[in-house]
Amino acid sequence: MLYRENGQFKTTYRADQQIFPITQDRVAIGLMLAFAFIAVPLMASDYLYASILIPLVIMSLAAIGVNILVGYCGQISLGSGAFMAVGAYGAYNFFVRIPGMPLIPTLILGGLCAMSFGILFGLPSLRVKGLYLAVATLAAQFFSDWMFLRIKWLTNDSASGSVSVTQLQVFGLPIQSPVSKYLFCLAVLVIVALLAKNLVRGAIGREWMAIRDMDVAAAVIGIRPMYAKLSAFAVSSFIIGMAGALWAFVHLGSWEPAAFSVEISFRLLFMVIIGGLGSIMGGFFGAAFIVVLPIALNRFLPAFMSLFGIEISTAGVSHAELMIFGGLIVWFLIVEPHGLARLWSMAKQKLRLWPFPH
């Protein structure tokens, strides 16, 4: 009964329709935000920022984008890395070519570049779906890999497509120290997550879900498949593009096309599967899982194996990582297709009834 909603009366439609209608949720979210914005910067070390926190925040953003497309609209995509790359290089071009370009509009313009790329490669989704579409999005991936390696104009004539940015600042404040990088990415994440949450619970989100569940039936009840699918592609690739720009600008600083290879696309898809298809919360869980697991394995697996007297090399750890990833994906698909987010909501359900099991 820790998580009880009776007694919380709503007397207006506004109150009934808010994102977190239950007081405990509002308090919990407030505490989490306070923790992320205030407590974490007080405690974290530079290593923690660079290897876990910043990647986690940016990948959560990207995972939210992928989830909109894959989880909410059911359009399976293996081209997320391409959208990230287009976002990153698009933003880079605006940043370098226009003197005095501020960072936030740069990110948004990068997102818009990714959006137009996403719509272009989303066009096949009007004709094909499922497996065929996965291949169509892979085309986006390979095309972008090639584009940023070979078309010199896009990378400002740099050799092999590697570029770098320096002196980032927002409203005159420099984004150089790990803390400021973290806080900036976190702010972007919170804003986008809020917008995305509102989008998916509104009319357009319902259209996406209708298309996902059964597109023919959705078309019959008056949802335009073209509009719904392309808008999902647009919104999703916009968010992924912004995440890509952040990944490149803030996390990497200097990067090359290989930073956004097909591997990233697969990773993002795994985040969504493990985190929970069709859930904004799942994006955070999935990203946390995929970012933290390799680091944890690298740290603890050799120690753990040496308990049994087995020496494990770095290569061995990375193979174990592959196996664990693969096994987990299959396991999640079989046992819990809704991912970690489902466990979260089950926990809430249990708390609602606690201490009585039924």
Binding site: I76, G130, F142, V262, M323, G326, V330, L333
Partner: protein
């Protein structure tokens, strides 16, 4: 003209190898509706097993005949692939019956990761070589017609011949044997096949076994050409557009699609590449398949699926 023909033949040879990988996809999709992303990982796994066993067997048993060592290694690798197929059916597919295509696709991605990790844990992750005694020297053809003749790689010819004979063998298997007929029945209609007493699970195991052997053969050929290494998994990604072009359910489609993609890639690289900066081999097949999809979503020979509410 001679150069064009040379490129064309090179493309056809490469295309034959793509067909072989694509065949693995088509077999599994036909019989179980699973789009097997793990085909590349299976190729890597099989090739790694074969490479390492052909290296270990002479050491263990003292056989120094290359052919026999390779034969035993091939057999062991084939048995390993059967075990893998059985385990996949038992541990994964059985639990995912009646799920959507997308779920199954993601499950095979998981299998792919697992197999990549497992293969490299068991057999090591260096670059290994498979030496099945293919001659490396090129041959010249038609040197009376064209000055200098047409240069053809003997290795490619043999590889294409192996691929072609495997395709013929498979079609005989599908057309003439009882198991083949059962496989076709399952591909046609799962429920109807089951209702006349064809055991679905066994059929799936058989199909995955066949796909495993196909993976082993393609791994053997690619491995002896390029060496057995992790990048072998990417040939599955190269073969995807082939399947799309040919249609997911059609064996002739996989073959023709492979040839078209192979020729298209080589010709575009040679004649179009210089204008756009080269390296377009990577995406040409995909964009070709993509454009093709817009006009004929079911592929060249695929079945047209009509959705009804």
């Amino acid at each position: 003209m001679a150069f064009f023909l040379e490129t064309l033949i090179g493309g056809l040879m490469a295309g034959m190898l793509y067909s072989l990988v694509a065949l693995g996809f088509v077999l599994i999709y036909k019989a179980s509706g699973v789009f097997n992303f793990a085909q590349g990982a299976m190729v890597l796994f099989a090739a790694l097993a074969m490479a390492r066993f052909s290296e270990w067997i002479p050491k263990w048993t003292g056989i120094d005949n290359l052919f026999i060592a390779n034969l035993i290694a091939f057999a062991i690798a084939a048995v390993l692939m059967f075990v893998v197929a059985w385990l996949i059916e038992r541990l994964v597919l059985r639990h995912l019956v009646n799920q959507e295509g997308a779920t199954l696709l993601m499950a095979t991605l998981g299998i792919a990761y697992f197999l990549e990790g497992l293969g490299q844990t068991l057999f090591g992750s260096d670059i290994y070589k498979i030496d099945i005694g293919m001659p490396k020297d090129p041959i010249f053809m038609l040197d009376t017609v064209f000055p200098g003749g047409i240069l053809v790689n003997k290795e490619d010819v043999i590889a294409a011949a192996i691929a072609a004979s495997l395709v013929i063998l498979l079609s005989i298997f599908f057309q003439k044997t009882t198991t083949g007929r059962a496989l076709r029945a399952v591909a046609d209609d799962h429920q109807a096949a089951q209702s006349i007493g064809i055991p679905l699970n066994r059929i799936w195991v058989i199909v995955w076994c066949v796909a495993g052997v196909v993976a082993l053969v393609s791994g053997m050929i690619w491995g002896s050409k390029l060496g057995v290494q992790f990048s072998l998994t990417t040939i599955a990604l190269r073969a995807l557009p082939v399947v799309i072009l040919g249609g997911l359910t059609s064996v002739p489609g996989a073959i023709l699609g492979g040839l078209i993609i192979g020729v298209g890639e080589k010709l575009s690289e040679v004649y179009l590449g210089p204008y756009v900066g080269g390296g377009i081999e990577i995406w040409f097949a995909y964009v070709l398949a993509l454009v093709f999809l817009l006009f004929r979503p079911q592929g060249l020979f695929g079945e047209k699926i009509i959705d009804r509410v």
